[in-house]
Amino acid sequence: MAQIIFENVTKIYPNNVKVIENLNLHFEDKEFIVLLGPSGCGKSTILRMIAGLESITSGKLFIGQKIVNDVAPKDRDIAMVFQSYALYPHMSVYKNMAFSLMIKKMPKEEIDKKVKNVAKILELTPFLDRKPNALSGGQRQRVALGRAMVRNPSVFLLDEPLSNLDAKLRTSMRKQISLLHKQLQTTFVYVTHDQTEAMTMADRIVVIKQGQIQQFDKPQVLYDKPANIFVAGFVGSPAMNFIEGELVCKDGKFWCVNENLTIDLTKIKCADKLPNLKDKKIIFGIRPEDISLSAADQKDGETFKASVLIAERTGAEVYLHLVVSNCEINSRVGSNADVKFGDKIYVKFDISKAHLFDSATGKAI
């Protein structure tokens, strides 16, 4: 059992900078958890606290059933993969992987068996005698993974392990890490600022901003029901469009109104909550894929005239950067869309999939 529990954990650095305050988290055994957030949000600090590389100022940290606040990193039954790989440059691939087992004074035959087995899984067998500087980025990354795997730890910690790889390699390593998790059946805690990595690999994602947890849930829930404007903007690529306005009730209907746009909110999911929020400042959010092309202005408060700023073709789809009544928005449409720079078109918002946020608090309505 390697569940990880943070109980009111606070981390204050010696220069009195409070990075994490009252953190409460519960990672289940064998879960793949991703800590997601922008640079400097404290996600790596959380990971390093689990590893024992950062002390905990107050609160309790459990790994399994045991409080590990004062337990040395080597005794926590964890393994960590670093962003820089942190391979020992003077040791061969074999020795890099065998090092921790050698320290444990494991019999040589057993070490040999384990290292060769892991090397086979990670396709590193031909490189066992090489030094890290004679390996490519992807191979080094696999050695770093292998070094963690041979220890057979109950918790795997991965600190932005793919950020130094090129896009193609990143995709293949992503798949490899996911498969590894399925094979090893241990708890994985993975730090990244790349929401694609988080969405594709995680069982659950912790979204963090300035040391505070914004939302902790399954990837699809984060996408479909973001708790606040930060999560809504951070998760999803291209990012969600936001339009500021005021909630106005007119002709028995609710509208999001600003000086340029009037959007009919009748079909919105949270329509039942709107009567209490009359005349409040709100932010209307809609994902790019929920904005489609329309043949003509249907004058329904959902269709708007737009001019095309840029049309980015990715092959499978087209990303449109549009100006709708002075508001810049992005849309994602099928590759058959025949639009180009300067075109005047009509777009339709799928209001049933849109989101509303309280302008003052940023929280979802």
């Binding site: 590389l53 670093f82 790989y85 020992y88 440059p89 003077h90 320290i103």
Partner: protein, 276 residues
């Protein structure tokens, strides 16, 4: 064409400079094979049938100054001082670089400052203290060399250690290493190029040093530079042939060491300068 001329001028300039630098060594080498009376009369001529003295200067010099005994003292002091300097200063530099505190910062600047204090400024008080502490012997002088050698060595080691990612040490910590094991199994092997640089620089200095052993251990334990000095004799009775021969013998070990390890000197000095 202009470029070619420039290159040629540069080449000629450098060649001249090399000749000027190597000339004294060449003159010593040539004269070490001449009879001592011909050295002062024609110091720049090559030995001929009349002036060539074979190895008599070498054999005579070795006997006169007790060369092998002096060689033994020089080797003992140099080898153990350099080993102690490399081991102790690399550990100190690691601690100073990794522990972020006012004390470590202060220590670093104290060591760096020690580099700019001229030896002549402290030599008399130092030899007096060495005498009082009974470290005026070949073992005690090693301690003094560690002190004098630590400034530059810590400066060089610190620069190199800054370029080693802390992640490597943290990975070793997670792998189960104690701090001592991290140093010896992970850090020290990575420090190999800079350790060789530090070793060579200190070897050249300690091997050739005349003033410190002369002040501290004096004539009781003659190192090579002190022993050679005794060939100067008094009242002009210097044996120039043996002197030249012994000078050549004295520089041979350092030259061999330098030639074997020279590639590491540049590598080591440069490596801390830029982020790898």
């Amino acid at each position: 064409m202009n470029e070619k001329k420039k290159d040629l001028a540069f080449f000629v300039g450098m060649a001249l400079l090399s000749i000027i630098c190597l000339a004294p060594i060449a003159i010593v080498l040539i004269n070490s094979f001449k009879g001592q009376f011909f050295i002062s009369s024609s110091p720049f001529s090559l030995p001929d049938a009349k002036t060539f003295a074979g190895l008599s200067n070498y054999l005579g010099g070795v006997g006169k100054i007790g060369f092998w005994k002096a060689f033994g003292y020089s080797c003992f002091i140099t080898v153990f001082s350099v080993c102690a300097i490399v081991l102790l200063t690399s550990m100190t530099a690691w601690m100073i670089t990794r522990v972020k505190s006012k004390l470590s910062k202060g220590l670093y600047y104290a060591f760096v400052f020690s580099m700019i204090v001229p030896f002549q400024m402290v030599m008399f008080t130092m030899s007096k203290i060495a005498n009082m502490l009974n470290i005026d012997n070949p073992i005690g002088i090693i301690l003094i060399y560690v002190g004098f050698g630590s400034g530059l060595s810590i400066f060089l080691f610190s620069g190199f250690i800054k370029s080693i990612p802390v992640d490597i040490e943290e990975a070793a910590m997670i792998d189960g290493c104690s701090p001592i094991r991290i140093f010896f199994s992970v850090i020290f092997p990575i420090l190999k190029p800079i350790s060789i640089t530090v070793a060579i620089l200190n070897t050249m200095w300690i091997w050739n040093d005349y003033l410190l052993p002369n002040l501290v251990i004096g004539s009781n334990y003659r190192t090579i530079p002190i022993a050679i000095q005794y060939l100067q004799g008094g009242y002009g009775s210097r044996d120039m042939g043996a002197l030249m021969a012994m000078l050549i013998l004295a520089i041979i070990p350092v030259i061999i060491l330098y030639l074997v390890c020279q590639k590491y000197i540049i590598k080591g000095v440069m490596s801390g300068a830029v982020k790898g």
